[in-house]
């Protein structure tokens, strides 16, 4: 989204420069959306820019120098973060990668199975299940955190890696998206043709339907990855051992140390900055899979 807006910048500048040569109507149409997008981009990017710049400031510079003037403390901040309680920050980072990576992968699998089944098979209660799922999409996961804790406590799973992974495997939104996508991308004729050729249902799913669903599943994976990476309340309630904390919780404990100790602002800001990098990298890498949409032309209608 934001990269789109950024690409607009040069064209907007060009448009005003070359305004005399072009029909005035065109530039008038382009101006409003461009400005809107630009404003949106500024709104989204300004806080990011703040984090990036603030992470370069030393504790002394943080609140005393001009906000958008880069500081001199970046290397020190990194090494302080490294040294904090024997590098527990990197432990949090790898925990987050584990929760988000495995959680998103499992969730994508579950979504693919159920979304495909809901889209392809007709059975009684299908619409009911789908409606329940829709209701699940509308339900904020925060509401479920405490009941989930009580359930997992019953199974003696709290304060374990499972307690954070399991509740996030089933994502109503992921199933919903998979169903919509499978209905659009996997034509019934293709499935029928597979059956005629004697392929088993499993084979049809894995060899024919799954490749067609890839762009949709990539979206589900990304959404789920970001959701787990940013999740705070569920791990907050589930975990008490800070060796198992994800990055969100870890940074929170850095910030809330009681009034007796100076707040570790520089560490938190640098930590937050580093924690964004994997997400940005993931988006840049996976973005290309979205354009595979065009492959879904297997049937002539």
């Amino acid at each position: 989204m934001s990269s789109l807006a950024v690409q607009k910048v040069p064209s907007a500048a060009g448009a005003t420069g070359a305004a005399q040569n072009r029909p005035p109507l065109r530039s008038r149409i382009a101006l409003v959306p461009t400005i809107t997008l630009l404003l949106g981009a500024v709104y989204c990017l300004l806080p990011v820019a703040w984090v990036v710049i603030a992470s370069t400031k030393s504790g002394r510079e943080l609140f005393s120098t001009f906000t958008f003037l880069p500081g001199t403390g970046f290397a020190d901040n990194i090494s302080d973060l490294n040294a904090y309680r024997d590098g527990v920050y990197w432990k949090w980072m790898s925990n987050s990668a584990f929760y988000a990576g495995l959680g998103a992968l499992l969730s994508t699998c579950v979504s693919a199975f159920s979304g495909y089944a809901l889209a392809t098979y007709r059975f009684r209660g299908r619409e009911t299940i789908f409606n329940v799922l829709l209701a699940g999409v509308l339900m904020p996961p925060i509401i479920l955190a405490v009941p989930q804790y009580l359930l997992l406590a019953k199974a003696d799973l709290t304060d374990s890696y499972w307690s954070v992974l399991l509740p996030q495997v089933l994502s109503p939104y992921g199933v919903y998206l998979s169903r919509i996508y499978a209905a659009a991308a996997v034509p019934g004729d293709v499935v029928e043709a597979g059956r005629m050729d004697g392929a088993s249902e499993w084979r049809i799913f894995t060899r024919i339907a799954l490749p067609m669903m890839v762009p949709g599943l990539v979206t589900v994976f990304l959404f789920q990855f970001v959701a787990v990476w940013n999740n705070f309340l569920l791990p907050y309630i589930m975990l008490s051992d800070d060796e198992k904390f994800p990055i969100t919780l870890g940074l929170h404990t850095l910030l809330e140390q009681g009034a007796n100790t100076p707040a570790l602002y520089t560490l938190v800001i640098t930590g937050a900055f580093l924690a964004v990098i994997p997400l940005v990298a993931l988006f840049l890498v996976i973005q290309r899979f979205w354009s595979l949409d065009l492959l879904s032309g297997a049937v002539k209608s």
């Binding site: 504790g59 002394r60 609140f63 005393s64 906000t67 098979y121 007709r122 059975f123 009684r124 209660g125 299940i129 405490v146 009941p147 804790y149 009580l150 359930l151 406590a153 019953k154 709290t158 249902e201 907050y236 309630i237 008490s240 051992d241 800070d242 919780l249 929170h252 404990t253 910030l255 809330e256 140390q257 009681g258 009034a259 007796n260 100790t261 100076p262 707040a263 602002y265």
Partner: protein, 442 residues
């Protein structure tokens, strides 16, 4: 094919129903007490705390007295704040609260009224003698029980820029009346500067100021609670600060923001009503002002008074979920009364100890680095700590605090009547207590 599908589906439905029912049953039997005291053999305890460096202090126990008694404590570091109370109560609902928790004094009634804290009166020995009465009273809630051992306290003090006070010819106010005059005098000499600000984003500050004025927000008589948030003493405090904000003698911007840090660092605000832990906050908020501040007792309501309030401070409590309450209480008493433990706590965690004897020993013989210009900082602090007024916390401090932030935040911003906000705080608190099922007398 469709048949198999249907069968599978009905099984899924059955599972869902079973899980839901399980959840209900669980909620019903969540708080079963287990009072078995198995004291034979090695005991291992878990401890939720936010104090930095607590693991190192606990190591002293695990290698020393703990090793002898075969009691091993494991620290699980948490974030401080009201959310931790919620987390403890949630865990307690599932019977899974840790053996030991760190809790702020104002959170104790909430935890006790939810039956989360154990009475350890029999297990803490002569710990009471190590603390000032006003401090100890906070952990008994006015009963014969003992629900926690005090760890650190936050007696309130007045901090001011010594150099700027001299520059503008101001004297350190001994009473609140003089405080108001000082604020006005500064405005006259330097209209751009403020003596301080009234901030509504930390309710503990206002609670401490009210406590100094003699307010008793929660009291009990018989089986009934009495809520006195808008009592005469608190009204006096609210009117005083509301008046200063309204006439523009002090600023009305919240503290702990980058703008506030900047105001302190550049000398735009030249004083801060705070507590004993202020040097730590000033170190990060106003790094360029090192050595320029000084600390004095809080201004008084009348010349002859000598009392202060408290802002912050916490205790170590044993939960009812613990299977080894006696061992846990033993550790809690050691942690907060043993000289070596308190020294380590001060060094690693930067706490100001509740234990009177520790307030002048070890780490507290020299002033904090930020206040090197005031060599007797901790002597003065210990004297001030002795004058702490008794506090009166109730079971829904969090509700009162939330309303405070909203109502007083708006009143400070609009420079409107603070007593209206105070009445709102009283009404919300009483309504919530009634909703929770407490008997409240009007």
């Amino acid at each position: 094919m469709p048949n198999a599908k249907r069968r599978r589906l009905s099984r899924v439905t059955a599972t869902v129903v079973a899980v839901t029912l399980g959840g209900t049953a669980l909620a019903a039997c969540g708080s079963s007490d287990e009072d078995s005291e198995a004291q034979s053999g090695p005991v291992s305890l878990t401890y939720w705390t936010w104090t930095p460096g607590m693991d190192k202090v606990v190591d002293l126990w695990n290698k020393g007295p703990g090793k002898k008694d075969q009691i091993t404590v494991t620290v699980k570091k948490q974030a401080s704040g009201d959310t931790l109370v919620t987390k403890i109560l949630t865990a307690h609902k599932a019977g899974k609260a840790p053996d030991l928790v760190q809790a702020e004094y104002q959170a104790l009634p909430t935890l006790v009224s939810n039956d989360a804290l154990a009475d350890i009166a029999k297990n803490v020995g002569d710990a009471k003698s190590k603390f000032a009465d006003g401090v100890w009273q906070q952990t008994t809630l006015g009963t014969d029980a003992v629900y926690a051992v005090p760890q650190d306290i936050g007696p309130m003090m007045f901090y001011y820029r010594e150099d700027l006070f001299k520059k503008y010819g101001l004297t350190v106010p001994a009473t609140w009346e003089q405080f108001a005059q000082t604020a006005r005098a500064l405005k006259k000499k330097a209209p751009d500067l403020d003596l301080t600000t009234f901030s509504a984003n930390d309710s503990g500050l206002f609670a401490g100021l009210a406590q100094q004025a003699g307010a008793k927000w929660w009291t009990t008589s018989g089986d009934k609670w009495q809520v006195g948030i808008n009592d005469a003493a608190t009204k006096k405090v609210a009117e005083f600060w509301g008046g200063l904000v309204k006439e523009g003698a002090i600023d009305n911007q919240p503290m702990y923001t980058p703008a506030w840090n900047k105001a302190l660092n550049t000398g735009k605000q030249i004083a801060w009503v705070s507590a004993v832990w202020a040097p730590g906050t000033l170190t990060t908020a106003a790094p360029d002002t090192e050595g320029k501040w000084a600390m004095a007792p809080l201004p008084q309501w009348s010349q002859s008074d000598n009392v202060t309030g408290s802002w912050g401070g916490s205790s170590t409590a044993v939960t009812t979920d613990s299977k080894h309450k006696e061992a846990a209480a033993k550790f809690a008493a050691w942690l907060n009364t043993d000289g070596d433990a308190l020294n380590a706590l001060a060094k690693e965690g930067g706490i100001y100890p509740a234990s009177s004897s520790a307030q002048l020993s070890g780490a507290f013989t020299a002033p904090p680095a930020f206040f090197s210009n005031q060599p007797d900082f901790y002597n003065e602090a210990a004297d001030i700590a002795k004058t702490t007024a008794p506090s009166a916390w109730g079971p829904n401090v969090n509700v009162a605090y939330t309303t405070f932030k909203d109502a007083f935040g708006a009143a400070a911003k609009n420079k409107s009547d603070f007593t209206v906000a105070l009445d709102e705080m009283q009404a919300d608190t009483v309504a919530d207590m009634k909703k929770q099922g407490f008997e409240v007398s009007e």
